[in-house]
């Protein structure tokens, strides 16, 4: 793109002239980017500025600038509130369960799928496993709740058939957490394999060849060729995942939640919605939002720092 005029005009340009020339050449690029930059400023950076209401007593009628400063009052109230301890605990707990149980599954699934030799069967399995990713939590939760119903649900029918007692999956606190984690596996485990399968497909076949000549069994090939090859992808994803340890998807919880299990299922997103939007406590919930975003950022940067120290892979 920058090739042609330099051939025509060989004279030397000052720094400023060169900048002007480059900018003139890029004029259409600026026209394209202008709405994008405007959007970023208004819809991404203005709300970041709007966080100041966490330090104010925000009144809709007086606007952000007109509302009174209250310093750390919202944060003091927040840290003292029993609700905060609960949602912090639940957010961490559910995220730890999600990472421990749902993070390794796509890796294992991808390794197993990669070992399948019947390609058509492999494609069918992949299609089936990707499907739930494309459906909303409204739909998936609707199906789940019907299936897990203690009276008419299929799951409890099967449990009863084998002589068990019906389980109140949605109303029992432990079973609710199980349901939450399993539903997450259902929706995203298959989709999560794509990225690992992509990494696997990038492995040079000669590496397997060499391993075989050395007499490595298929299991050892997986262990010494496939697994090391996808490890960088795994660690990048894990670092990224650490950046959302305070987030639990709003829709996922909102759809499955009910009054019986509130004490294990209330998390930041749902709480901010209920208290902030429904009860209009804007300043208080902005303080929660800021706390959540900062903790996420700190964990992300911390993990990234650690990853850089102990291995080659890191985000930045």
């Amino acid at each position: 793109m920058t090739q042609l005029p330099s051939a025509i005009k060989p004279q030397r340009l000052t720094k400023r002239e060169r900048l002007w020339r480059d900018m003139r050449r890029a004029k259409y690029l600026y026209i394209m980017l202008a709405p994008i930059v405007l959007y970023l400023i208004v819809f991404k950076y203005l709300p970041m500025g709007g966080i100041v209401i966490a330090f104010k007593d925000f009144k809709l009628g007086r606007g952000i600038l007109g509302s009174d400063w209250v310093g750390m009052k919202n944060f003091q109230e927040l840290f003292r509130s029993p609700d905060f301890k609960l949602i912090l605990r639940n957010s961490i707990m559910l995220n730890v369960y999600l990472v421990v149980f749902t993070f390794p599954i796509p890796v294992i699934l991808a390794l197993l799928l990669n070992e399948l030799r019947a390609l058509r069967f492999k494609r069918v399995v992949q299609s089936v496993l990707y499907l739930p990713h494309f459906l909303s939590w409204v739909v998936l939760a609707g199906i789940l709740i019907a299936m897990l119903s203690p009276s008419s649900g299929v799951v409890n029918r099967i449990i009863v058939f084998f002589g068990g007692e019906p389980i109140y999956f949605m109303a029992d606190k432990t079973w609710w957490i199980v349901t939450f984690v399993v539903s997450s596996v259902w929706k995203e485990a298959g989709w999560g394999t794509i990225i690992f399968l992509a990494a696997i497909s990038g492995i040079d076949p000669e590496q397997y060849e060499a391993a075989r000549i050395d007499g490595a069994s298929r299991f050892r090939q997986v262990l010494h060729v496939t697994l090391p090859a996808i490890l960088p992808t795994v660690s990048i994803l894990l670092i990224l995942r650490m950046g959302s340890m305070m987030d639990v998807g709003f829709e996922h919880v909102y759809m499955l939640q009910n009054s019986y299990v509130r004490s294990v299922s209330d998390v930041f997103s749902v709480y901010v919605y209920r208290i902030g939007i429904e009860r209009l406590r804007f300043s208080y919930t902005s303080a929660i939002g800021l706390f959540q975003a900062l903790v996420n950022l700190v964990i992300l940067l911390g993990t990234n720092y650690l990853a850089k120290k102990v291995s080659e892979t890191s985000l930045f």
């Binding site: 090739q3 890029a26 259409y28 699934l109 794509i194 075989r212």
Partner: protein, 304 residues
């Protein structure tokens, strides 16, 4: 199959007994896993076609019992559901077009090697991926700008996804540079290069991202929940949620009042049918786009 893969995998390879056992168990396991993932949908299809009595008695597993189409007839004549469907189609079609337009506008300039200011824009974008104002400040902004109860507000608010934009940018960067260079020598400007050369070569990634955006709009719940309160503009997912969960509460009441028969039984099959009807568009485009999205995700995943 075995012979050919043996040849492909090298000449003196044979499957040991252990490997054979593993292959069989692996196939069985994945088949079972896939069936478990699919079964809830099969059960829902069966429910939607079954009699209410059979559902409540827990007789429906894989096949419809006492097959009938009452639930679908009921949906077909439900004016609210029809209106919600129409709103969602509107929101999805325009939302996707706007998303694609904005994604291209951002991805093309950022795929160029250099221009003054590129770095600033990239940094601005990257920051938004890791930090944001959060729900409440955004909500106040939407209120202040008068964007409540307008689909246009939702479209502007989620103008494009940074992740999808990076996927497209990576794809643009992967196209052969000679093509644009020769066009540039012939005097084509950036817009001509984009429209005449880059976009026609980018159909797979355009298809993939169109699918992602369209599915995103179709399924979107939180956006409409926060910003659309006018019942005239209710979307399908909001309606579906109301319908599914209202049925649940109504059922509890009926149970408590000891009325066990009619209103309760119509609900289950109706719910199943409503769920299916609201997923039909996704299920329909899914097989056609599948071959594209796997490629599209891989491009973004490996280089992004």
């Amino acid at each position: 199959m075995t012979t050919s893969s043996r040849v492909r995998r090298g000449n003196k390879i044979r499957r040991t007994t252990g490997e054979l056992v593993f292959d069989i168990l692996n196939t069985l396991f994945l088949a079972l896993f896939a069936f478990t993932a699919l079964y809830p949908f099969l059960n829902t299809i069966a429910n939607s076609l079954s009699s209410n009595r059979a559902i409540m008695a827990g007789e429906v597993y894989l096949w419809p019992i006492e097959i009938n189409f009452e639930a679908y007839k009921q949906i077909w004549t439900d004016p609210y559901l029809f209106k919600a469907m129409r709103n969602t189609v509107l929101m999805t079609v325009f939302g996707t077009i706007i998303n694609m337009f904005a994604t291209i506008l951002a991805a093309y300039p950022l795929s160029r090697t250099y221009f003054p200011g590129k770095k600033i824009v990239m940094v601005m974008l990257t920051i938004t991926m890791f930090f944001g104002g959060g729900l409440i400040p955004t909500f106040i902004l939407m209120n202040t700008l008068g964007l409540m109860n307008k689909f246009a507000g939702l479209w502007i608010l989620s103008l494009f996804s940074t992740y999808n934009m990076i996927v497209m940018r990576t794809f643009f960067q992967g196209l052969p540079a000679e093509l644009e260079e020769s066009a540039a020598i012939e005097g084509a400007n950036d817009i001509v290069i984009l429209v005449k050369i880059m976009l026609p070569l980018s159909l797979p990634v355009l298809a993939t991202l169109t699918l992602f955006y369209a599915v995103g709009w179709w399924n979107s719940y939180m956006g409409p929940l926060l910003y659309i309160t006018d019942p005239e503009k209710v979307t399908l997912m909001l309606k579906l949620r109301q319908l599914l969960w209202a049925a649940q509460t109504a059922m509890q009441q009926i149970n408590e009042e000891g009325l066990m028969d009619k209103p309760r039984v119509t609900e289950e099959a109706f719910k199943a049918a409503a769920i299916l009807v609201s997923t039909v568009p996704i299920i329909m485009v899914y097989p056609f786009l599948q071959k594209y999205f796997v490629k599209g995700v891989m491009v973004g995943a490996l280089k992004g």
